[in-house]
């Protein structure tokens, strides 16, 4: 029997949602300060209006729904899924007010793309966008990559029972440290340390390539946030092609790879256990899939004679392969070139890499290499079972920080999530084809959206049908939260309507 949610359930959800939205609002202080510093007065008021609206919403929710009760599992999942939708709304507000987006739906698309670290964009005329608005787009990726819940847990929530349930709702089930708040703070310490170092490296590379100091620093910070959080936004319309720099591309590749690695592995490496990187199951699978998919991409590019030299094949092919596999979405070619020049085999390799993604508990999207590895182990285990004597006993073991024996529950969970992602890719592809786009284009764009990658073959544009914008928004949201939180929200709504 399905029980209808009670008033206390709404209060718990409203109270914690209010806290998360207040925390989200405080991040708008950064573009406000930048707009003040750069004398960008019109953007300043865009951000002030959005900041105040966001604060008002959060405060009213927090006050009206005040409760001492901690969130249960379902509350945590619902709060998380709702907070991403609501944060997307308030994140879109300053973008819409900037008049660089044709409609609020377009601005919401970009805000959700930023928060989910996808990187698909519907912005117009980014060459004339203010520093404040550009910074906000990249901060959205930084917040989304770390996780809105992780942000709030780190700084605004003290000793609240049930915070682990909020943490897990954001598709993070790995505890780096025993206490969830310590885990959240560690993630932020790692991220901020890499932010300083990574931004300086990128700025140095930009200055080496002729960019003036101020712009080099701004671009360094923005590109770092997009690369480490595997988001893929860039300050300019051409993405990384703008810089025309192999050095810049090389630095971004290293940062993308760092972002695609499990935060638990970062902790282990930070505490001096460097050998773990060679023994780790997930990293091994990631390395194998990068090599395998690059072989497909390189073979395809060679077959179509897309690039005149091996250097060009490596520079374009490997860069986009890394961008796809880490779920970043940086491009150094125009979207139409994927369809016009790359050929089916290269695109197949790229689509496969996009669907796979990086490591669990990282900033990437997609199925994740850990799950692929577990599915492969499950398959191997079943084959061994069928060819061996009946009395034989089997178990599969992997090394992930420590040796782990795979249970049936873990294998089933990996298979289910893989199937769910495949269904999501299928759904988006069908929607693209229903809107009149060709098969390969539709599959490419759907996998890119659902896998939170951000590479585009040209479908994503301001002239895209509104229904497809809504489909991609839903795919980005569901893909980022890895289904469970979204199902919890849908179940809550169903119980509200049909419960007793």
């Amino acid at each position: 029997m399905l029980l209808r949610p009670q008033v206390k359930d709404f209060k718990i959800i409203g109270f914690y949602l209010g806290k998360l939205i207040i925390g989200f609002a405080l991040f708008m202080i950064f573009p406000i300060l930048l707009s003040l510093g750069m004398n960008e007065w019109a953007p300043l008021f865009d951000f002030l209006i959005s900041f105040f609206f966001c604060l008002i919403f959060g405060l009213i929710l927090n006050m009206c729904c005040y409760t001492d009760a901690g969130p249960g599992w379902s509350h945590g999942l619902i709060v998380v899924s709702l907070s991403w939708l609501v944060a997307g709304f308030f994140g879109a507000m300053p973008l819409f007010l900037s008049e660089h987006w044709n409609s609020f739906l377009d601005a919401y698309f970009d805000a959700m793309s930023g928060l989910t670290t996808t990187g698909l964009s519907l912005a117009n005329d980014m060459s004339h966008m203010s520093y404040g608005h550009n910074l906000w787009r990249h901060i959205l990726q930084f917040i989304g990559g770390q996780g809105i819940v992780v942000v709030v847990l780190s700084f605004f929530v003290q000793g609240v029972a049930g915070t682990f349930r909020l943490y897990v709702g954001e598709a993070r089930d790995e505890r780096v440290l025993p206490n969830i708040q310590q885990t959240a703070r560690f993630i932020w310490i790692v991220s901020l340390t890499y932010l300083v170092l990574g931004s300086l490296f990128l700025a140095a590379a930009a200055m080496w390539d002729g960019m003036p100091l101020g712009n080099a620093l701004f671009n360094g910070v923005c590109i770092f946030m997009a690369a480490f959080d595997t988001g893929g936004f860039a300050p300019y319309e051409q993405s990384i092609l703008y810089y025309h720099s192999p050095l810049f591309e090389a630095v971004t590749m290293v940062i993308m790879l760092l972002g695609a690695i499990n935060f638990r592995l970062h902790y282990v490496l930070w505490t001096g256990q460097r050998k773990e990187i060679w023994r780790n199951f997930e990293v091994t699978v990631l390395f194998i899939t990068i090599m395998a998919t690059f072989m497909l991409v390189a073979t395809g590019l060679s077959n179509t004679d897309s690039y005149p030299t091996a250097v060009a094949v490596f520079r374009k092919g490997f860069y986009h392969l890394m961008s796809a596999h880490t779920g970043t979405g940086f491009q150094t070619i125009y979207p139409a070139e994927f369809i016009n020049d790359w050929g089916s085999l290269s695109l197949f390799g790229l689509i496969f890499a996009m669907g796979l993604g990086g490591c669990v508990s990282s900033t990437t999207g997609g199925i994740k290499t850990m799950r692929l590895g577990i599915v492969a182990k499950t398959f191997a285990n079943d084959v061994k079972y069928y060819v061996s004597p009946e009395s034989a006993v089997f178990f599969e073991k992997i090394h992930h920080i420590k040796d782990v024996i795979l249970s049936d529950k873990q294998m089933r969970s990996a298979l289910l999530i893989t199937l769910a992602y495949t269904a999501l890719f299928f759904f988006g592809s069908a929607a693209g084809m229903a809107c009149g786009y060709p098969f390969m284009d539709s599959v490419f764009e759907s996998v890119s959206a659902a896998g939170n990658v951000g590479l585009s073959c040209g479908i994503t544009s301001p002239t895209m049908p509104p229904v497809l914008k809504v489909v991609y928004i839903a795919q980005m949201w569901v893909g980022r939260l890895e289904f469970i939180s979204v199902f919890a929200l849908l179940g809550f709504v169903y119980a509200l309507v049909r419960g007793k």
């Binding site: 960008e40 007065w41 019109a42 008021f45 865009d46 002030l48 209006i49 105040f52 609206f53 604060l55 008002i56 405060l59 009213i60 927090n62 006050m63 005040y66 001492d68 007010l97 060459s127 004339h128 966008m129 203010s130 520093y131 390539d209 002729g210 960019m211 003036p212 712009n215 300019y236 319309e237 051409q238 092609l241 703008y242 810089y243 025309h244 192999p246 897309s306 690039y307 005149p308 030299t309 250097v311 060009a312 094949v313 520079r315 374009k316 070619i333 125009y334 139409a336 070139e337 016009n340 020049d341």
Partner: protein
Amino acid sequence: MRRIILLFFMACFLSLLPRVHAEAGQGVRVSSKELIDRAQEMDGRPVVFQGEVVGDIMPRRAVAWFNVRDQHQVIGIFAPRELIKDIVYRGNYDYRGDEVEVEGIFFRAAADLGGEFCIVAKNITIIQSGFLTPHPVSPVKRNLAVWLFGLVLCLLAIRAPMIAHLSRRRAS
């Protein structure tokens, strides 16, 4: 009659001649959309591309990279440094950049430049100088921000005593 017909065909031939020579020397006038959609066809051909200079000019020893935007997309331009010295304004939030006409060879994937999609410029002409673009603050936005600030202050003023009161009521 035959002389008239012969003269007619000679006139047609002569009228075509200057255009043919101009295309071979000056290149085909193209948009960014044409370059991207017909990249294979245009690869290695002389082109003329017009647009606004946007972003940074990035000098690297004797050459420089910069980007030019027309109504569709932004294209990278690779040029010797002496060609860029007259470019003053670059398009950003505060300025509309210089409108330039770039004559050069288009490469879909320039072998000497690591596979870059670009125009290697032979000549750059400033068509129109850039200018400051003002962004006035809307009075509606200004007033709305002030009212919302007042509302936030009111909420903050009542929040703390309200939560303290609720906590006391629950404890009792």
